[in-house]
């Protein structure tokens, strides 16, 4: 019975679906997390040739063969890069990106990783670093005598020093965009790496054409919509049950056959 293996592929696919949904729900409060969706495709069809099928005269509707599908497979898991909501934190080193782009982060290995989670802090050297202590590229150092730091919409970092009326420029944050964002490889820790699929980063200042703007004092929330996830979870569970019903049916049919005398 081919149906057994077909419905097994169906159950496996729904398992993957639930895995992806549960990861989304787990990351509901992760800064700048982008929800993921599993994507399915039907498997190869077996053409069962039907000798004699064409003898029924000119049939306009039915093709001259019967195709039996072999089930389903997970085609991939893709990220939906919708903008998340802006949540205010009033922390002067929290920077959210409105629109396209990623901050560049220098990893200890010397590689550049990319992130949209702009919850920065200062290192003991006064450098702008991520929560893990990795420096933002191009590097920005805030001198200890600074009393106030402002990050403009276009990424210019300025400080106020006591006794001086003028703000001083201390750096310029830049953003990287990718032709194929979906091709970025997630590293965990809100970080992504460029791959052959994503292409090389285009680097420019925030606010340039095709690049987003920055917002100081805000963080981008995850774009997970709990209601949508729960409904997806329910339908995945039901689909799993439906496929297990097919398994039960096949079992009953086989039982009927085996009880013949």
């Amino acid at each position: 019975m081919r149906s057994l293996s077909i419905s097994a592929t169906g159950m496996l696919a729904q398992q993957t679906n639930v895995d992806v949904i549960s990861n989304n729900i787990a990351n509901m409060n992760t800064t700048a997390y982008k929800k993921q969706r599993a994507e399915f495709q039907d498997l190869l069809y077996q053409q069962v040739a039907r000798p004699g099928a064409a003898t029924g005269g000119p049939q306009a509707r039915a093709p001259s063969g019967i195709q039996i599908g072999a089930g389903v497979r997970t085609g991939g898991v893709y990220r939906i890069s919708e903008q998340g909501a802006m949540t205010t934190t009033d922390n002067q080193y929290d920077v959210a990106i409105e629109g396209n782009g990623y901050f560049q982060i220098l990893m200890p290995s010397g590689e550049i990783a990319y992130t949209r989670a702009g919850s920065f802090q200062l290192s003991d050297q006064g450098e702008l670093v991520t929560a893990d202590g990795y420096a933002v590229q191009p590097g920005v150092t805030i001198p200890p005598q600074a009393t106030d730091v402002s990050i403009s919409r276009t990424g210019i970092v300025q400080i106020k020093v006591a006794g001086q009326a003028e703000m001083q420029d201390v750096g310029q944050l830049q953003l990287a965009t990718f032709v194929n964002e979906a091709g970025l490889e997630a590293q965990g820790g809100n970080l992504f790496l460029a791959t052959a699929a994503s292409g090389q980063p285009n680097i420019a200042s925030p606010g340039d054409p095709g690049f987003g703007m920055l917002r100081q004092g805000f963080l981008e929330a995850s774009n997970v919509n709990p209601v949508a996830e729960i409904t997806a979870l329910i339908s995945a569970q039901r689909a799993y049950e439906m496929n297990s019903r097919v398994v039960k049916t096949v079992d009953e049919m086989l039982a009927t056959s085996s009880q013949l005398r």
């Binding site: 019975m1 081919r2 149906s3 077909i6 419905s7 592929t9 169906g10 696919a13 969706r37 599993a38 994507e39 399915f40 495709q41 039907d42 498997l43 190869l44 069809y45 039907r50 004699g52 099928a53 029924g56 306009a60 509707r61 039915a62 093709p63 063969g65 195709q67 039996i68 599908g69 072999a70 089930g71 389903v72 085609g75 991939g76 893709y78 939906i80 919708e82 396209n100 965009t177 032709v179 194929n180 699929a197 994503s198 292409g199 285009n202 054409p209 095709g210 774009n223 339908s235 039901r238 689909a239 439906m242 496929n243 019903r245 097919v246 049916t249 009953e252 049919m253 013949l260 005398r261």
Partner: protein, 248 residues
């Protein structure tokens, strides 16, 4: 074995195939753009000239003649992805296959390669209305939208139009797996006739309730058929015993 057992056997084989089709529909209940398959059954008449009575001369067997796909539209699932498109109405997106041929699909999960080429989730180029692939210049990435007539709109105007191909003979459109269909003699819809919806995908048109009831029906017919075979078997056994007693 007389003819009745063979008739029942043809019925049971057809039912098994039907269940395979139902199982495949069920397995693909979450597959984007999937269209459910429906087996088509035929009566196959065989003339038996050596039958005793005239009524028994025609024996009808069951033949599963083919499968047609249901062209009902699946539900629209909003994803918020600007490059996700669903076709409103009939037709298929045309996809360039590695061997130079064209495949057709209703799964509109498109993305851009690093070269700026618009491709399906399998990485196969989407054909435009002139049959050419569509390429977005790198500086416009992230700023393109898909209009309802299939035009890819950049900041300075359209960059190409996604083709939607319709077929007069839907039965000739046969599934090949990976969400692709093979078909001949399609007609590309003009911009005025094309209706797409961006920002979402078409779900599969499998209705679980329908498939479940089908499945129950298949199971019960199968069991009935097997019981009949059992009864015929019994009858034959008794006949042999009787004849044995008469002969003795």
């Amino acid at each position: 074995m007389d003819i009745s057992s063979y008739v029942l056997l043809s019925h049971e084989q057809a039912l098994r195939r039907r269940l395979d089709v139902v199982a495949n529909n069920m397995a693909n209940v979450s597959t984007v753009g999937f269209r459910r398959e429906q087996p088509v059954f035929h009566e196959m008449l065989k003339r038996g000239e050596d039958a005793m009575t005239r009524d028994a001369r025609n024996v009808s067997f069951v033949l599963d003649f083919g499968a047609v796909h249901d062209t009902a539209l699946g539900g629209f699932q909003a994803t918020g992805n600007p490059l996700d498109v669903a076709i409103d109405g009939q037709g298929y997106f045309a996809v360039a296959l590695p061997d130079g041929g064209t495949g057709y699909t209703r799964a509109g999960q498109f993305k851009l390669l690093d070269t700026g080429q618009l491709v399906t989730s399998n990485g196969q180029p989407v054909r435009g209305d002139s049959g050419q692939p569509i390429t977005v210049p790198p500086e416009m990435i992230g700023r393109v939208t898909i209009a309802n007539d299939g035009s890819i709109m950049g900041p300075d105007g359209p960059l190409g139009r996604i083709a939607v191909t319709v077929f007069d003979n839907e039965a000739g459109v046969t599934p090949r797996g990976d969400g692709l269909m093979a078909a001949e003699n399609g007609r590309v819809l003009a911009a005025g006739e094309t209706k797409l919806r961006a920002g979402g995908l078409e779900g599969s048109n499998v209705q679980p309730i329908v498939e479940t009831t089908n499945m129950i029906q298949i199971l019960r017919s199968y069991q009935t058929s097997q019981r009949m075979a059992d009864a015929i078997n019994d009858m034959r056994k008794r006949a042999v015993e009787r004849l044995g007693r008469i002969g003795g």
